[in-house]
């Protein structure tokens, strides 16, 4: 091999080797970090044609509506639990320790990410609500197709001062992106 070819060969194989390492890393990191999305019904009854249920201990995302009246706090701590529902009747209990997002309300669609600790119980590490009162998690919107959805603004939220100015307006406000609140 003449020196020029040799140099080219070393450089090419260097790049190919680098790309191979990068690909392997990407695939490995992906296999570790992809979280599947389930609705409460899918957790209880299984997902898809094969009725696949998530295993206890698996890290998943659950999207659903917070069942009104189900939010409860335990003792003096900051642990909060609530139930999630989609088309019903299946409900999943979510335990979360920490501060709920500003937009968390009963009846609101939210996404919880965490580990399944029992077939119907999720220990959430993160609770997300979108900055849009009409928001429903993407997967849930699909599951709820055809089911009437009441905008959260029509629920009574006595926790904060009620002001009905423009409350019936549907918010079409896109702030240029999908910022979640957690």
């Amino acid at each position: 091999m003449n020196p020029r070819r040799k140099k080219r060969f070393i450089m090419t194989s260097g790049i190919i080797g680098g790309v191979a390492i990068a690909t392997a890393l990407v695939l490995y990191a992906l296999s570790q970090n992809i979280d599947l999305f389930y609705t409460p019904t899918e957790i209880i009854n299984g997902k898809g044609a094969e009725q696949v249920r998530p295993e206890v201990g698996q890290r998943i995302r659950v999207g659903g509506l917070v069942v009104p009246g189900s939010v409860r706090r335990e003792g003096s701590g900051l642990t909060v639990s609530f139930n999630l529902i989609d088309t019903g009747p299946a409900e999943v209990i979510v335990d979360y320790e920490g501060i709920l997002p500003d937009l968390f309300r009963e009846g609101q669609g939210i996404v919880a990410q965490g580990i399944l600790i029992a077939p119907n119980r999720l220990q959430a590490s993160e609770v997300l609500a979108r900055h849009d009162e009409e928001y429903m998690p993407p997967g849930l919107a699909e599951a709820l197709k055809g089911v009437e959805h009441v905008p959260p603004s029509q629920w009574d939220d006595s926790q904060y001062r009620s002001n009905d100015n423009g409350a019936d307006d549907k918010s079409e406000n896109e702030s240029g992106g999908g910022y979640y609140d957690r």
Binding site: N33, L103, G139, R161, S175, G177
Partner: protein
């Protein structure tokens, strides 16, 4: 009336852009100098009418003209005037108008400085800017007209601006970001013009370089301000979330950084030409991809019904046309391009190639993480999410070779470098970096986290090799300091940029590994002790802002020995019109740590859920970005770009004088 004027001005701007896209190119094809020279006035026309249109929308907001639907949706009479102004870019239509204004400004600036360029080349560059304009103006006029009226049902008051956007950070973040995004269209226009002319040489790289760096500086600052805003405004305590919208701005930044370095090789050594062109195309295409992701509604698919689906289709087609068109041109022309410069395996060329390989890999990684969930969803394979751990892990691994190469690069000569020549400086830098990398966290926190140590070692390696490089440059000089100053702005730009990267890596390594987050239940009078700080919840009071009601908590912070640190006010605001609750975080900062308090919800007994963060070195992340941007400013104002202009201007003056003389002689 003013609204219609704005709309009409927008249509005129579109007409100018269409003419700009055609006439100069026709002029080039025919060799007609007059038609080529038309490029400049046409560009100015496009700019002026876009500006008029923008001013019309601003007027709509300042005058509370709720007959304009966009104003009614994003403003309110109670909104403070400054936010009524920034509400112009608070939502899709207006922010796209700002985008257009920025695009037209870049084109106008290009036209202003185009006397440095040969007429044919300037005509081509401006024509490509016109073509991009055609796509954007059409998009605006067809799918997102900001001047749509609410007549006859004019609302009495507006719906108010999203509370998240009522913040100083939002005043400057979008304009900066758009300057960066759209700025890459200039680099793209230069690349396409060069391909059209079939001449890719170092002259082209030299013309394109200051523009590319300028765009990069804006994008860097824009992303930095966005990160800073998200940090204090969203109340989560994070500075980067790998959110698809953030990724949309990060991808062009990575590609742009690669382009900047590749342009350096093309300018100095005349090689990597086709690669540079490809990167210029990629950087702009990624800007467009980002626009598509953010504005089409694919990211939050619930929006698909609220947002007009034609928008997404239009942007996707435009993106397709741009990518397909430019790659076709590239395929036809780039084959002819030959590089004949030779370099050894250990040379600056190869190290810069390594820089590019890592940056491009990083771009692809971000792209995979952002787009894979979308593909899964569109193909019906179910919903998946790829979160922070994936990106964190990948970027950790990629930073290692990147920082190592970065340290080596500046010390290495073009073409060929004898390793033994720099072996001693490298060994010294490495030993110092490793020793201090372990020592500093040990001094700072008693516990040494492996990841923090690695981050510090990499950052210090960059710092020490940079110092070694500066020492090497002045080694043979008698007077060291004047020699350092004489190195030139471009050189100092590189030094500052690299040091900025090191500062940022230090910030990231420290905050990711030594951050403390505690969620506690606190009521007035309660205290909480953490890491040598005592937080006392003093009181809770309510007050009314212009369009919100706030519950404000005051915390006084002391050290355990009793010395006073300061008072932190943290708020929970309720925005009356939008009926949204918004957390305003309280901060107490110095150069080495942030104390950060966010209020959660009120609990039954009058106490509150309170989240307290102690974030070491978090400011360094943004300080590093600013340093990088300053480096960019140094580079683009280097003498060799300015000198040429002055020479050109002088030459032009002489030329004009000659013509005048000739005329006089003829008379």
């Amino acid at each position: 009336m003013i609204g219609e004027l704005g709309h009409f001005a927008l249509a005129l701007a579109f007409a100018f852009s269409a003419l700009l896209a055609i006439i100069p190119l026709v002029g080039v094809a025919r060799g007609h100098g007059g038609q080529m020279a038309l490029a400049r006035p046409l560009t100015y026309g496009m700019f002026v009418f876009t500006l008029i249109s923008f001013i019309a929308l601003v007027w709509g907001f300042l005058a509370n003209d709720f007959s304009i639907a966009y104003v009614a949706n994003n403003s309110n009479t109670a909104l403070p005037a400054i936010y009524r102004f920034t509400a112009v870019w608070g939502s899709h239509e207006g922010s796209f108008l700002l985008w257009m204004l920025v695009q037209a400004s870049w084109a106008a600036a290009l036209a202003l400085f185009s006397n440095r360029l040969p007429l044919v080349f300037a005509a081509r560059v401006l024509a490509v800017m016109g073509m991009i304009g055609v796509g954007f103006y059409l998009f605006m006029l067809l799918t997102s007209n900001p001047f749509e009226r609410t007549i006859p049902l004019i609302p009495v008051d507006g719906r108010d601006l999203n509370p998240l956007l009522q913040d100083p950070g939002m005043i400057i973040h979008p304009p900066l970001l758009y300057m960066g995004y759209v700025g890459f269209s200039v680099a793209f226009a230069f690349a396409i013009a060069a391909l059209l002319g079939g001449r890719l040489d170092s002259a082209w790289a030299r013309w394109s370089r200051p523009w590319t760096i300028a765009a990069w500086v804006f994008l860097t600052l824009g992303i930095m301000v966005g990160s800073w805003w998200a940090y204090y405004e969203l109340g989560w305590g994070g500075w980067w979330f790998w959110d698809p919208v953030e990724n949309a701005s990060f991808m062009p930044w990575l590609a742009g950084t690669a382009l900047m370095h590749s342009l350096a090789v093309t300018e100095k050594r005349g090689t990597f030409k086709s690669w540079t062109v490809l990167l210029a195309i990629a950087a702009f295409s990624l800007s467009l991809l980002g626009t598509f992701l953010v504005r089409s509604g694919v990211l939050v698919s619930v929006h698909a019904f609220a947002a007009d689906p034609t928008r997404g289709m239009f942007l996707l087609s435009f993106l397709g046309v741009v990518i397909a068109g430019s790659l076709l041109l590239y395929a036809i022309r780039a084959a002819k391009v030959q590089s004949h410069s030779r370099y050894d395996l250990f040379s600056r060329e190869v190290l810069l190639l390594g820089n590019n390989v890592v940056l491009v890999t990083a771009t692809v990684v971000v792209m995979i993480g952002t787009l894979l969930p979308l593909f899964f969803q569109q193909l019906g394979l179910g919903n998946i999410s790829i979160g922070e751990p994936f990106f964190d892990e990948m970027f950790f691994w990629m930073t290692i070779p990147f920082a190592l190469i970065l340290g080596l690069g500046p010390l290495t000569r073009w073409r060929r470098q004898d390793f033994s020549e720099i072996r001693n400086s490298l060994a010294l830098a490495f030993v110092l970096a490793v020793a201090l990398g372990f020592a500093l966290p040990w001094i700072f926190a008693d516990v040494v986290h492996g990841l923090a140590a690695i981050g510090l070692i990499l950052a210090l390696w960059v710092v020490f090799t940079t110092v070694a490089e500066l020492r090497m440059r002045v080694a043979s000089r008698e007077q060291k300091w004047p020699a350092l100053v004489k190195l030139g702005r471009s050189h100092w730009g590189m030094v500052l940029g690299h040091l900025g990267f090191a500062v940022m890596v230090i910030g990231i390594a420290m905050v990711q590994n030594y951050e403390i987050e505690r969620t506690v239940r606190m009521g007035p009078g309660d205290t909480f002790e953490q890491s040598g700080y005592v937080f006392t919840f003093d009181e809770m009071y309510e007050w009314e802002g212009p369009n919100f009601i706030s519950d404000t908590a005051t915390f006084s912070v002391t050290r355990t020995d009793g010395s006073r640190v300061g008072i932190i006010k943290s708020e929970k605001r309720f925005y009356v019109v939008t009926r949204q609750i918004q957390t305003q975080t309280g901060l107490q900062v110095n150069a080495f740590r942030d104390l950060y308090i966010a209020l959660g919800e009120e609990l039954d007994d009058g106490s509150w859920a309170v989240r307290i963060h102690i974030k070491p070195f978090v400011r360094w992340i943004w300080a590093g970005s600013i340093l990088m941007a300053i480096g960019g400013i140094f580079s683009m104002t280097d003498k060799r770009y300015r000198l040429r202009r002055r020479l050109k201007a002088e030459r032009k003056r002489e030329h004009d004088a000659e013509i005048a003389n000739e005329k006089e002689a003829r008379v």
